[in-house]
Structures are given as structure tokens and as C-alpha cells.
Assembly symmetry: none
Homo-oligomer: 228 residues x 2
DNA sequence: CCGAGCCTTGACGCCTCCTTGACGGACGCC
DNA sequence: GGCGTCCGTCAAGGAGGCGTCAAGGCTCGG
């Protein structure tokens, strides 16, 4: 299902958007300010963001920059400002589209469909593997299920998130900073103790011999790597 | 250079667009009708299409469909029609953006930049040469993996950094000062002993005969050079 | 209101990596 | 032929990174 993050501080507009989006089978998260928006974006990985520029706590363009620091998720800007400069600034900061209020719901939804569509992976080539199997354990990212030696293993949300990033980059080194920012959010980049704790938990739950990991490999000073 | 295909039948608008685009170093093709547009698109493979819906010979939406049959090139629609239905139809047919006339040139150009930007290759799609192979060893800079004779070789962060600088300048001489400053920082320029130690380690880990290096070559008094 | 997970945070021991010094060989200059 | 310079090699020390454990606080559901 497509996940939409709505960032808007006017409750009526939020309500209208949420109702319309849910009716069309989108999964919707909503944030009323910039801080919550950035947090939710990091936690939920939306497929598209609808962003009002007039937020109470931060300039909307800063939100765009904050998102663009780590993700290419499509951003559709909503704004009451008609000025050309505002549009240019938002678009050049990394927005994908700019819709002025008042807006027609049909048009917004069409623009949203267009944004989601073009972000889709190319047919055929974009099929990503969601089930990963190693000699010791099995992970199904889509079903959020993991098992070792036939027995189901329970993972916490953070553990899943971390595992997901590693598995999506199977064989490639993922830097500590990238892991931290993708799992904990853009403002985290140095708290490597989080990584140490959660890597240990993943290993304890999935590796046959947690103290001699064969799949979750540490590259000292650089990051971690998942190997089948 | 970015190539733009302008599809528009009003000569003044064509002229304004062409002048503005060329001034910004875009390469511009122009078509006055749908047939020419489809032909030019096929022949020239533009990076983005600016498409007026009001063409003399064919409905603009048909042009969108015609293009979408074989390409995902970004399409920005220009139209005098403000109706919501028109926008929805064009966007759902495959357009990326919809700008109503009269339009501001700044805004159009910003939307064009946005369209081009997001069409840019994703990391991994825009093949930069990151895998280097010699007769004796193999280096993957993106995955941070190196192997010799089929066996993985572990390199430390500093070793990677040094290797990266050398590989990026394959065949070219890199001065000691440049290496020191790129790897150890701007304030290091004379500590050539660091280089000696780390070049030795790279050779020991990657060269078949470390004492007679064939790929990491010393240019006495000047610097080092990496050769495939 | 209580309890169960879950996330955060701190402490500690081990291990890796970077730095640094010493030594020997090759080469060129005097 | 002696000397100085530059480079390669080796080993030891210290600093910082990493794995591990456990306690505290938070949120959510009962």
C-alpha cells in the first residue's frame, strides 16, 4: 500500500486530506509541525510527502532540505503563497511539485498519483527481493517475519528497521552514519552506541554463534555489512 | 548537456522558451505539432519534454500516451485550460507536471529543473566506474570490498581512503603532498612516513609480489601512481 | 494503576587501528 | 668510496572503537 505523510497545521485541511486519501486506500500519517514531520518521515518511510510550507516551528523549505539530506521521496508542496520566488525556492530546494491553496482535491490527488508513479521502479528491473535466506536463518521483509532453525524469531521495530537497511544493501558496506540516519533519523549521526547495542541484539537473535558473526559483519571504523 | 524538447504551436511562446532555455545552456529542439514532436522525441531522446496541450493536429493527451508507450522522459504540460478535469486527465495519462498559461518563466524553469533532477540516475543506476580489476586483485569502491585470488581482503579505513584516491587517478601520478592532504587532512603535507607505511600495507594486501609492486608504483621524490 | 516490552544510557574489558621510532637498503652526489 | 637522502620494513605503544551487560525510563495495553 502507498504510504502518504501529510504535513499541515490547519486541522480542516488535514481532515479533508486524510479522509480523501484513506478513501482511496492510501495509508496516511499526519504531522502538524516540522519536527514531527521529520521524525515521522524517518520512522515510517512514506512513499510521498504532502508538505504545507506554513508550519509553526520551522520554515517549510528547511523541511525539504532536511528530507533531501537522506531521501529522494517525492515531496508535493502546498502553499498559500502564489509568488514565483517562493515556488522557485521550494522546487530548487528539492520539492517535486508545488500546489497553491486553495487547491482542488482532484488535482492534488492526480499530482500525487503522478509523483508516486514516476518514483516507481522501472517495470521488471525494480523487483526487489523481500525474502532473504542464509544457512542459519530466514527473513521476510514484506511479511515482517524472521525465523531461525524453523522457529519464529521476534524482532522489535528498531531491529526490523536496522535489519531492513542492511538487507537492502546485501554485500555492500553501510556506513555507521547512514545506518543511524536511516533508522533513527537525520539528526542522529554519531550515536554509535545505539548501533552497537542493536547489532548485538540482531546477532543474538539471528546468528548461530553471536560472538562469531558470519552474516552481520563489522568493518571497524567504517560500518557494517550484511552477507548471505 | 540537458536536452529539452519544446512542443508548442504559438511562435511567440516557442521563441521565449527557446531563448530562455538556451541562455541557461540547455540544448533545445522545438516542434510545432504532435507528429513532429513524436518524431523528434524518438530521434533525439530529450531529457525532458515541455508540451502544450493545444496542438493543431492531435489532442495533447494523445501525445503523452504516445510518449509513455516507450519512454519515461519527464513531461511538463503547458495549457491554457484551468479546468481540474483537464489536469487530472493529463497527469493520469502520464504527465509529470501541469503548468497553466500564462506562466511565469522562472517558475517553469524551476519545475523543469525539478523534473530533470528527479529523473537523474539513482545511486546504482548512474553507473560510475566503481569496480576496478587488475590481473591480481579486484576492488569495489562502492561496496568497500576487495579481493585477491578469490579471497576477500580486509582493508582499514585509512587504507581504503588512500586506495580510493589512487584509483580515482588511475594511471596518473599523485604527489605525496596531495595524498597526505586528501587522506590525513589539509594540515598534513610532510609526514611521508605515513605514506610509506600505508603503501606497504596496500601492497602487502593486494600485490602478488609486494616487494616488486606492479600496480602501486613509486615515483621517487614525487609521489605514487596506480596502474591497472 | 500496574506490568511488559522497548528504547536509551552508562560502564567496562577487549581488540583493532593509527602513530611513531628504529633500522637497512638503494641511489645519487660529492 | 663515503655520505646523505629517500624509501621499504618491522614492531611496539597508545588511543579509540567495539561487544557486552545491566539498569533506568518511557509508552502502551490491560
Amino acid at each position: 500500500m502507498t504510504r502518504v505523510l501529510v504535513v499541515e497545521d490547519e486541522p480542516q485541511i488535514v481532515r479533508a486530506l486524510v479522509i480523501n486519501l484513506k478513501a482511496r486506500r492510501y495509508e496516511v500519517d499526519a504531522a502538524g509541525d516540522a519536527a514531527t514531520a521529520l521524525e515521522l518521515a524517518a520512522a515510517r518511510h512514506p512513499d510521498v510527502v504532502v508538505l504545507d510550507l506554513g508550519l509553526p516551528d520551522m520554515d517549510g523549505v528547511e523541511v525539504i532540505r532536511g528530507l533531501r539530506g537522506w531521501t529522494r521521496v517525492p515531496i508535493i508542496v502546498l502553499s498559500a503563497r502564489h509568488s514565483s520566488d517562493e515556488k522557485v525556492e521550494a522546487l530548487d530546494a528539492g520539492a517535486d511539485d508545488y500546489v497553491t491553496k486553495p487547491f482542488g482535491m482532484d488535482e492534488l490527488l492526480a499530482r500525487l498519483r503522478a509523483a508516486v508513479r514516476r518514483a516507481e521502479p522501472v517495470a521488471g528491473g525494480g523487483e526487489e527481493e523481500v525474502v532473504v535466506e542464509t544457512d542459519g536463518f530466514l527473513v521476510d521483509l514484506a511479511a515482517k517475519k524472521a525465523s531461525r532453525a524453523g522457529r519464529d524469531v521476534r524482532l522489535t521495530p528498531t531491529e526490523w528497521h536496522l535489519l531492513e537497511v542492511l538487507v537492502r544493501n546485501t554485500g555492500k558496506l553501510v556506513s555507521q552514519k547512514q545506518l543511524l540516519q536511516e533508522v533513527w533519523g537525520p539528526s542522529y549521526g554519531t550515536e554509535t552506541n545505539y548501533l552497537r547495542v542493536y547489532m548485538a541484539q540482531l546477532r543474538r537473535k539471528l546468528e548461530a554463534d553471536p560472538s562469531h558473526p558470519r552474516h552481520f559483519i563489522t568493518e571497524p571504523g567504517m560500518g557494517y555489512r550484511f552477507e548471505k
